[in-house]
Amino acid sequence: MARDGFSLPPQTISLGDLMRLKRELIALDDFIHQSELRSLGHALKTPPKASTALNNYAALNHLNFLHAEDRQKGIDFLDHLSVHAPRAHISFAIEPSAPTIRKIAGWFRDNIDPLLLLNTGIEPSIAVGFTLNTDNHYHDFSLRQHFSKQRDLLIEAIAKSDEAKRS
């Protein structure tokens, strides 16, 4: 399935969000299909109430979920993403707020891949900063790693402090 023209809503950040969106879309499809069966071929003129993520998904991709074809496109694309979407796992010391993770996910989608799924985790030992796991690499942008990189400066600072104490 082609990826061109499709994009994910900002609310759908992680694989879990994607699966929730997919389940909602499938549920909507089931609901509409059953409604069409019950109303003897008359289609619904107003869609049922959906989540912001689903509405944004439809708006961003110019899909009308009242049409079975658009729903199927949406489901197929989400299916495809659930398997083939690029993924990353980012960890922080504390649970990030929704706006924060949305901002970070936005950066990834703007600069790395617009369809990237970003899972979040908690690692208290990070203290400050974050770590990033991909399928192949582990990137450590924590304060600990920053200290390790700046070890010479730290040693120099400690030595100066020691000299100052002695004098």
């Binding site: 690029p86 990353a88 922080f92 010391a93 504390i94 990030p96 707020s97 706006p99 924060t100 901002k103 970070i104 950066w107 990834f108 600069n111 790395i112 891949d113 990237l116 208290p124 030992s125 203290a127 400050v128 900063g129 974050f130 990033l132 991909t134 399928d135 192949n136 690499h137 990137h139 942008f141 924590s142 304060l143 600990r144 790693q145 200290f147 390790s148 070890r151 730290l154 040693i155």
Partner: protein, 207 residues
């Protein structure tokens, strides 16, 4: 003439000499005979009068005199012997003193030499022991310093190796969860931006 006169004189002189010798010999013989006769007479007289001269009183007197004389001689000899003995004893004492002193001095010299040698040996031994102890102390000190330096270096290396974790631990303990992620957003985005290329290649190509 002269010769004959001379012979006559010599003959005369010879005859005179022979006559003188004969006369002297004759006189001498007569004198000896008289002397012998006198001596015999005297001996006989003495023998006859000995009992009159050496009576008991005289004998006792002689005995007393002899005893006194003998005692005096004995006394003198005893005195001389005593003096000799004293002198000998004194000389012997002096000799013994000298010999003993000499022997003692020699023995003391030997003893002193032995003591000096023993003292020197003891001093040498002490010096060697002291030197050995000093060397061992220096060696131990050096080893201790090396160990201390090595331990210090190990501690420094351990500290440096784990410095980031240590400081991170203290920072974490100090700040806890007080730093909100929104405060870190600038840092997070700047780190992402700085490593954008690597992250992008990693995610897209799995490099």
């Amino acid at each position: 003439m002269t010769f004959w006169w001379l012979v006559v004189i010599l003959i005369t002189l010879g005859a005179v000499g022979v006559a003188l010798v004969w006369l002297i010999a004759k006189l001498s013989q007569i004198g000896a005979t008289n002397t012998k006769r006198n001596v015999n007479q005297i001996i006989d007289a003495a023998n006859n009068d000995v009992e009159h001269i050496f009576n008991d009183q005289f004998r006792e007197e002689l005995r007393n005199r002899g005893r006194l004389h003998f005692e005096r001689i004995i006394g003198e000899n005893a005195m001389f012997l005593q003096q000799d003995l004293r002198l000998t004893t004194s000389e012997l004492n002096e000799y013994l003193k000298q010999e003993l002193g000499k022997s003692l001095r020699e023995e003391f010299a030997k003893y002193e030499q032995s003591i000096t040698d023993a003292k020197q040996m003891a001093i040498d031994s002490i010096e060697k022991t002291k030197q050995t102890i000093e060397e061992q102390r220096a060696e131990l000190s050096q080893k201790l310093n090396e160990e201390v330096e090595a331990e210090k270096q190990r501690s420094i290396n351990r500290f440096e190796a784990n410095m980031a974790d240590i400081i991170n631990h203290y920072v974490l303990a100090a700040i806890g969860q007080q730093i909100d992620l929104s405060d870190q957003m600038e840092y997070i985005l700047s780190e992402l931006e700085a490593n954008k290329q690597a992250i992008s290649e990693d995610i897209r190509h799995g490099a």
